[in-house]
């Protein structure tokens, strides 16, 4: 009785519907695999076994998920403010520069947890700084943030190549990367956490930044739904005229929202740079900034949804790698195609099955239920 207007039960809305979307994406992927001449059932087995079959697989999955949680949160925060931040990739890249500065400066003198605090702050600051110009242009000049942030991805990539090749490259090394961070500049692995569940982390780079990501998710939830500023972000994002009426300063709110968004993207760099490679390398974001958009869409811009969606994409990344290894016919490109299908159904076509589900599950008044039962 107490279900509000036109809505589905929560378990359908947040459980069944995404599940159906993912299932359809997988069914189509199965057809692709079949077309290539491989057995789709076998492929799924390899994929699931690779991602979730053992401790190492799970740890790899969570390692990838960590990246997506950060970038997903970044997209979600901006999205609540009506801003579409496509610049995650560039913000991550610059965040990596912040991490590297902190680690290279402190790793010889400080324990990892001190370095981590500075590296987190630097990652946030660098990512935020990279979002600042698009934010300011949007707020002051009305330059569309989708255009400016995506352009800034290219500028970031060019800038980082320049810096890595000409400025911060380790002397005498052929590849454009910094020196290896010492122990004080590396985040510890979470082997102990895996052991709690009786699992072995193996060689997976699953590290402390996963926990930082969870804290960030909680912080985003608090920010959006429990603080005044979050209220102002949501007001601006849903009804800009009402925000003006309410005296919410547009320029300030846009800029701060984007700084937070960019900062969250920047923090992602902790995971691959300080938690895995132990050095700053070229191209380390590897598209995670873009996956964040899909994750935020699929997770309905809610931190819990984002964590779940991130783990799903972690499974696709890790399981996909395993699949490509075990079934040589299925190339890296096919894996990307499967990921694309999941993004398509979970993100872009999210509401495709909603009308059908409303017919099936939306609450109906008793009288009609009785009469239709009578008719049957």
């Amino acid at each position: 009785m107490s279900v509000p207007l036109g809505t589905l039960p929560r378990w359908v809305n947040f459980g069944l519907l995404p599940l159906i979307n993912v299932a359809v994406a997988f069914a189509l992927s199965g057809l692709v695999v079949l077309f290539i001449g491989e057995n789709p059932i076998e492929a799924v087995k390899y994929l699931v076994a690779g991602a979730l079959g053992d401790g190492e697989g799970i740890a790899f999955t969570l390692y990838y998920a960590t990246n997506f949680i950060f970038t997903g949160l970044a997209v979600a925060v901006a999205f609540h403010g009506g801003l579409f931040n496509i610049g995650g990739e560039g913000q991550v890249y610059l965040g990596g520069l912040g991490v590297a500065f902190a680690a290279l400066t402190l790793d010889r003198y400080m324990p990892w947890y001190v370095t981590a605090v500075f590296a987190t702050a630097a990652a946030f600051a660098f990512g935020a700084a990279w979002a600042f110009i698009p934010a300011w242009l949007q707020a002051k000049r009305g330059s569309h943030i989708v255009i400016t942030t995506i352009m800034f991805n290219f500028i970031a990539a060019a800038l980082m190549v320049y810096l890595l090749v000409n400025v911060i490259k380790q002397p005498g090394n052929m590849s454009p990367q910094t020196r290896l961070f010492e122990e004080g500049g590396q985040l510890p692995k979470l082997g102990w956490l895996m052991q709690v569940f009786g699992l072995d982390i193996g060689a997976a780079p699953f590290n402390v930044s996963f926990l930082i990501a969870l804290v960030a998710a909680l912080a985003v939830w608090l920010l959006i739904w429990r603080t005044r500023f979050g209220y102002e972000i949501r007001t601006m994002g849903t009804n800009a005229t009402a925000a003006v009426y309410a005296g919410i300063p547009y320029v300030k709110t846009v800029v701060i929202t984007m700084l937070i968004s960019g900062g969250l993207s920047g923090m992602m760099a902790l995971n691959p740079v300080m938690g895995d490679a132990g050095k700053l390398q070229i191209d380390f974001p590897a598209g995670a900034g873009f996956v964040g958009i899909a994750v935020a869409l699929m997770g309905r811009s809610h931190p819990v949804g984002i964590i779940i969606a991130s783990i799903l994409f972690g499974v696709l990344y890790q399981g996909g790698a395993a699949l490509a290894f075990d079934m040589p016919n299925i190339s890296r490109e096919v894996i990307i195609l499967i990921q694309g299908l999941v993004i398509l159904f979970a993100g872009a076509l999210e509401h495709m099955f909603r009308p059908a589900l409303i017919v099936l599950f939306a609450p109906k008044p008793k009288s009609v239920a009785a009469s239709s039962a009578g008719a049957a």
């Binding site: 009785m1 603080t227 209220y231 949501r234 007001t235 009402a242 003006v244 309410a246």
Partner: protein, 535 residues
């Protein structure tokens, strides 16, 4: 001459159409019959077992308070919603209306309260939208143009087919909506609160057109909350209350007080009771205010006036004569290009820029004209809207966090005090009826105990019961010694509430009629005629 032509046309056409009307009234099959329509939205039982027959060639009024279920019922008829149970009969045949397309095919046309027009298209383009008749527009255009001429001849709908919608006055835009419906072959025309945006003259013209449509054998369903319109134009009237049709009457056999009582379920006062104003010191003073719109057109031209404590100053005027811009400039939403706004003796602007947040702190509250787009965030929960604009008040905050418990408790208190229904502060605001949404805004602004209240169209789209309530609240606020500036296009409202009336025309204040001035005198000023006479 231009003003006379539609009326002249009417006079010419009417005699011819006499037999037509007789023929249609002889046909006893109702144009529309609703049988046992039932609709629930979750806990809200919007339509309870509705039975309604609308006679062919008649004007049938449906009147009821906001939230009584009128719009839901018409949305079911037009295919926006599906009834949980019940049947729709058109011309005696049961049909299933699944969407607006099937409704149109069944000969049902609808003119919405908020127009569904493409603003930068011409009239012609809007009429042919969806019925272009092929990939190339040329043929369709010619066909539509011919058909439009035909329709215009028959019904006296005088609109230039090549005019751009946004350049037309609201009354003509509405005519385009009617043209659209007629072009699509509507036999039954539903009008949802059609006079909400019209001037008295435009409303009169609309009613003449409706009479003409009826004379041509068309059936009109008029949804309204204005008793006067029902009495003036309809043949039959059905009264809805809380999702049910509580009575259907021949209009000639009923009275306004009876209908009002049926609507609200109790006796209502149709006039505002108030004592003489006791004006105190000046609270709000506007000096030489000029406001330009985005294109640089002067909307408010060198306007000066004062509002004293304990008085209601009403600004009358036809919509679009600068009242909205004036209100928004005083509220700090729109930048004034020159002039000053002074509250309690202090200028409130900082370098020509007024900050709405600062104004609120100085005791200025604002009930905006457009509650959907400005006063509320419809997708928010009710309690979230109850703090809009006051989100930095320490009583709603606990450190950096919102004090959710305090906010919800505060919202609940306002819900009880203002009888907002349903009494659920966690319900999405979009799910409240228009009248209740307006009460949410009023409760928020009035309960701040402001020194000065700006009110725009306080009762637009609001039902009688709520109008009475809102008017009483405003008078009570005045009696507490607050200054109130009222902008409304409802002349009745201005006249019954205001202690002083200012008339705006073309961006300037053209006069201050005596508070006992009659409607005609103010009406002439609103048309800009008073000024010419004075000059």
């Amino acid at each position: 001459m231009a003003m006379n032509s539609p009326a002249a046309l009417l006079a010419k056409v009417q005699p011819f159409r006499g037999p037509c009307m007789t023929a249609s009234t002889l046909d006893s099959t109702p144009a529309i019959e609703l049988v046992g329509i039932d609709k629930r939205f979750g806990p809200v039982h919007a339509n309870k077992n509705i039975h309604l027959a609308v006679a062919k060639g008649s004007i049938h009024g449906i009147i009821g308070e906001n939230g009584a279920g009128k719009s839901t019922l018409m949305s079911i008829l037009y295919g926006f919603y599906h009834a949980d149970s019940g049947q729709i009969l058109v011309d005696g045949k049961a049909i299933r209306i699944t969407d607006s397309q099937t409704a149109i095919q069944a000969g049902i046309g609808m003119v919405h309260q908020h127009f569904m027009l493409v603003e930068n298209f011409s009239v012609l383009e809007n009429v042919m939208l969806g019925v272009e008749g092929g990939a190339l527009l040329k043929g369709g255009e010619t066909a539509v143009r011919l058909a439009l001429q035909q329709i215009e001849r028959e019904y006296g709908l005088d609109v230039d087919p090549d005019a751009i919608i946004e350049e037309l006055p609201v009354g003509k835009q509405q005519r385009v909506e009617i043209l659209k419906a007629l072009y699509r072959g509507a036999e039954v025309l539903i009008l949802d609160e059609p006079t909400g945006v019209l001037t008295p003259a435009e409303a009169d013209h609309l009613f003449k057109m409706l009479a003409q449509l009826k004379a041509q054998g068309k059936t009109v369903i008029l949804i309204t909350h204005k008793l006067r319109e029902i009495m003036a134009i309809t043949d039959t009237v059905s009264v809805m209350r809380r999702g049910e049709i509580v009575a259907t009457r021949k209009t000639a056999e009923t009275t306004m007080p009876e209908l009002a009582e049926l609507m609200v379920g109790r006796r209502v006062l149709l006039r505002v009771e108030k004592s003489e104003a006791k004006p105190g010191p000046v609270v709000l003073s506007v000096e030489n205010l000029t406001v330009k719109d985005g294109r640089g057109v002067t909307m408010v031209d060198n306007v000066s006036f004062e509002v004293r404590a304990g008085e209601i100053v009403g600004i009358a005027g036809v919509a679009g004569n600068g009242q909205s811009e004036l209100l928004e400039a005083i509220a700090g939403i729109r930048k004034a290009s020159s002039g000053r706004i002074i509250m309690n003796g202090e200028p409130v602007d900082r370098n020509g820029r007024i900050d709405p947040a600062l104004l609120r702190k100085k005791g200025l509250a604002h009930v905006p004209e457009d509650r959907h787009h400005m006063g509320l965030v419809l997708s928010f929960e009710e309690n979230e809207n109850a703090i809009l604009g006051y989100q930095d008040d320490p009583k709603y905050l606990k450190g950096p966090f919102l004090d959710i418990d305090a906010i919800r408790k505060d919202a609940m208190e306002k819900i009880e005090k203002y009888d907002i229904r349903p009494a659920d502060p966690r319900l999405k605001t979009a799910n409240f009826s228009g009248g209740n949404q307006q009460k949410i805004v009023l409760a928020r602004e009035i309960e701040r105990d402001p020194a000065c209240l700006l009110v725009g169209q306080p009762t637009r789209g609001v039902d009688i019961g709520a109008i009475e309530f809102i008017h009483k609240r405003l008078v009570a606020l005045r009696d507490q010694g607050k200054a109130i500036l009222l902008v409304s296009v409802e002349l009745d409202e201005i006249r019954s509430l205001s202690d002083r009336i200012l008339v705006m025309f073309a961006g300037t204040i053209v006069g201050e009629p005596d508070s006992h001035a009659d409607e005609q005198e103010i009406g002439l000023m609103m048309a800009g005629i008073g000024r010419e006479a004075a000059e």
